[in-house]
């Protein structure tokens, strides 16, 4: 009798002990952001001062305000999500439904890229972005995005799209494979073009897939750190994103205001946590489409 109760208790213990580290960490973060100083989880004085960055730029007016930075992050994440979803579903559709010379090669390429450590290519990608920046019209000075070259939001988004694509294509192909092509066939017989079929008939049928990939891409882009860090110059420039803005508070020379970092960090975290809570069901779908990819 005792044994049957002991085992679930043991299971809970195994689960709760490591989980408590996460809970403690996030509790600390929350308390710190509202305190002048903390000792462990104990606040030594409550304040709203750390959240000052919301209404005034803590580094002076020449630096972008938090809202500009947030807008940058949002634009970058949305652009990246949009491109990833459109491009991967175009490619996924072709791979799932069309026969053409080179199909096999293309599929194996996608798979290899899926497993390929793209971070190792950061150095040459830096040069590629420098070249793109020299191309007139799309390289620089595009409104909102800044362009697609080095040190622009568009450029950073494009690199992240490329890194996300193999995964996206694979997921989307899985979703396309799962729908029957009866409807598509009748539309094709009626004379619709492949593009029209893709857009009007197939895309509405894989909404769960689109949702899952969008959420996943958005979360990736919102939290991206390494790629923006590597491909934008200076963390307070006009193309700064939230994860880099944080770095402004962390300095080797002056005392770092950890409390302010915690506040900015929470500012960046809270929207995605809410987003995640509302969308996690849809996100979990991602693996039902990608089943064939060995998942």
């Amino acid at each position: 009798m005792l044994r049957s109760k002991l085992k679930p208790a043991l299971a809970y213990l195994v689960l709760i002990v490591p989980s408590s580290l996460i809970i403690l960490g996030f509790l600390w973060l929350l308390i710190t952001s509202f305190s002048t100083r903390v000792e462990g989880l104990q606040s030594l004085g409550w304040t709203l001062n750390n959240w000052r960055f919301l209404w005034e730029s803590p580094f002076g007016p020449q630096y972008p305000s938090i809202w500009t930075v947030t807008l940058n992050t949002l634009v970058m994440s949305l652009i990246m999500t949009l491109i990833v979803v459109v491009v991967s579903s175009l490619t996924g559709y072709a791979l799932s439904r069309m026969k053409f010379p080179g199909r096999k090669g293309f599929l194996s390429l996608t798979l290899i890229l899926h497993a390929f450590p793209s971070v190792t290519l950061l150095i040459p990608i830096y040069f590629v972005l420098l070249w793109i920046a020299k191309i007139p019209l799309i390289g620089r000075d595009v409104p909102l995005l800044g362009g697609f070259g080095y040190n622009t939001i568009g450029g950073v988004a494009l690199v992240m799209v490329a890194f996300q694509l193999p995964f996206g294509i694979w997921i989307m192909k899985g979703f396309f494979d799962n729908i029957s092509w009866d409807m598509e066939r009748s539309a094709l017989i009626d004379g619709a073009s492949r593009f029209k079929v893709w857009w009007q008939i197939i895309m509405p049928n894989i909404k769960p897939g689109i949702a899952a990939l969008s959420i996943f891409s958005f979360l990736t882009a919102w939290n991206a750190y390494l790629i923006p860090l590597t491909f934008t110059a200076g963390r307070a420039g006009k193309s700064a994103v939230l994860s880099l803005y944080l770095q402004n508070f962390i300095s080797e020379s002056v005392m770092t205001e950890w409390n302010a970092v915690a506040a900015v960090g929470l500012f960046q975290l809270v929207p995605v946590v809410l987003f995640f809570l509302f969308t996690q069901e849809a996100l979990l779908n991602i693996y039902s489409g990608g089943k064939k990819g060995g998942v």
Partner: protein, 338 residues
């Protein structure tokens, strides 16, 4: 909740045999030929720009001495300026064995304890307790992955901090009389490198394993229960064998991602606190090439460090294709002949 279960459940069924496509009406040769390439063109452009060109360049760069000081002067694309010097430099580096050892230890321990081990434990427990509780725990474990990495590492530094500031010191170690309340990141940097990376890594396997476990037809587990198997026996003899593929997939896939991930280490210890104490291979490549530490952005030398990882990546990706029954994955599409 119900919908999801059903969906995943359906995955277990074999695909319906496709009865169509036997009759070849011969639709649309006309638009047919070029359409696929039109669909593929955006990917082709992006892959060329950000994979092919960089891949070729990283190899070429690795043979040159390009750095910030001779940028625009050195004609790195000319074979005259190529040499194996960078590789000689790597393999005669006196810290090579330490960096190599660090890399192996980092990948092996994080993978075994967290990315596969902890992931499997959480997935198994959360699928065997109350659904809602299980979901709550999985959400909790997802948090590290969606937290901005700068904040996440800062949080761990606070946990590791010296007494009385550090959470672990204040509430666990000091009351228990363990250690002198030092900054744990300085005394045990590796423990925190494993923890910080592992807590992020575990969520990937956790989600995959959990959905794989939930997609096992209930008949199997019920049958084993009826036969008198304990929960542990059901897990060991019914469930684990059925999630063999996800297990293998997570292991291979996460080996590669751990091998090339260095963001967290960079922000947590930046290879320190001792000389090259927690420096791993990919971090070295990044340090040499892209951080202006002493102002030396040695693109060529850094590229040579990266090339070693690129080769490992390609080899492992090819093996991974073999293992995952590639032929099945690329079977011809059933459409395109009506």
């Amino acid at each position: 909740m119900k919908r999801r279960t059903k969906k995943i459940g359906e995955r277990g069924k074999p695909p319906l045999p496709v009865l169509l496509g036997t009759r070849n009406i011969g639709f649309s040769r006309m638009r047919g030929q070029l359409a696929p390439y039109a669909f593929l063109s955006p990917t082709l452009i992006l892959v060329t720009l950000f994979f092919f060109i960089p891949l070729v360049m990283v190899f070429i760069l690795s043979f040159t001495k390009l750095d910030m000081t001779n940028f625009g002067i050195l004609e790195w694309w000319k074979p005259v300026n190529w040499s194996l010097d960078n590789y000689v430099k790597i393999f005669t580096n006196r810290f090579l064995s330490r960096i190599l050892g660090n890399t192996i230890m980092y990948v092996a321990v994080t993978l075994a304890l967290f990315n596969v081990g902890m992931a499997l434990v959480i997935a198994l427990i959360t699928t065997h307790i109350k659904r809602r509780t299980g979901f709550a725990f999985r959400t909790l474990w997802f948090l590290p992955r969606i937290t901005p990495v700068v904040v996440y590492t800062m949080m761990w530094r606070a946990l590791a901090g010296p007494a009385p500031m550090g959470v672990i010191n204040k509430y666990f170690l000091v009351p228990l009389g363990i250690g002198g309340g030092e900054y744990l990141l300085h005394t045990h940097p590796w423990v925190f490198v494993f923890l910080v990376n592992g807590f992020i890594g575990a969520s990937f396997g956790m989600i995959l394993f959990a959905s794989a476990i939930e997609s096992i037809p209930k008949d199997y587990t019920i049958a084993s229960r009826v036969d008198g198997a304990s929960t542990w026996q059901t897990i060991r003899y019914v469930e684990l064998p059925m999630i063999k593929w996800p297990l293998l997939f997570v292991t291979t896939y996460q080996t590669l991602s751990l091998l090339t991930s260095f963001e967290q280490i960079m922000l947590l210890t930046d290879g320190g606190p001792g000389l090259y104490q927690t420096e791993v291979w990919s971090l070295t490549a990044y340090h040499r090439a892209l951080t202006s530490y002493f102002g030396n952005t040695q693109w060529g030398y850094g590229a040579a460090w990266a090339v070693v990882l690129v080769i490992i990546g390609i080899v492992m990706a090819v093996i991974y294709l073999r293992v995952f029954k590639f032929r099945e994955l690329v079977e011809e599409p059933k459409i395109d002949q009506l």
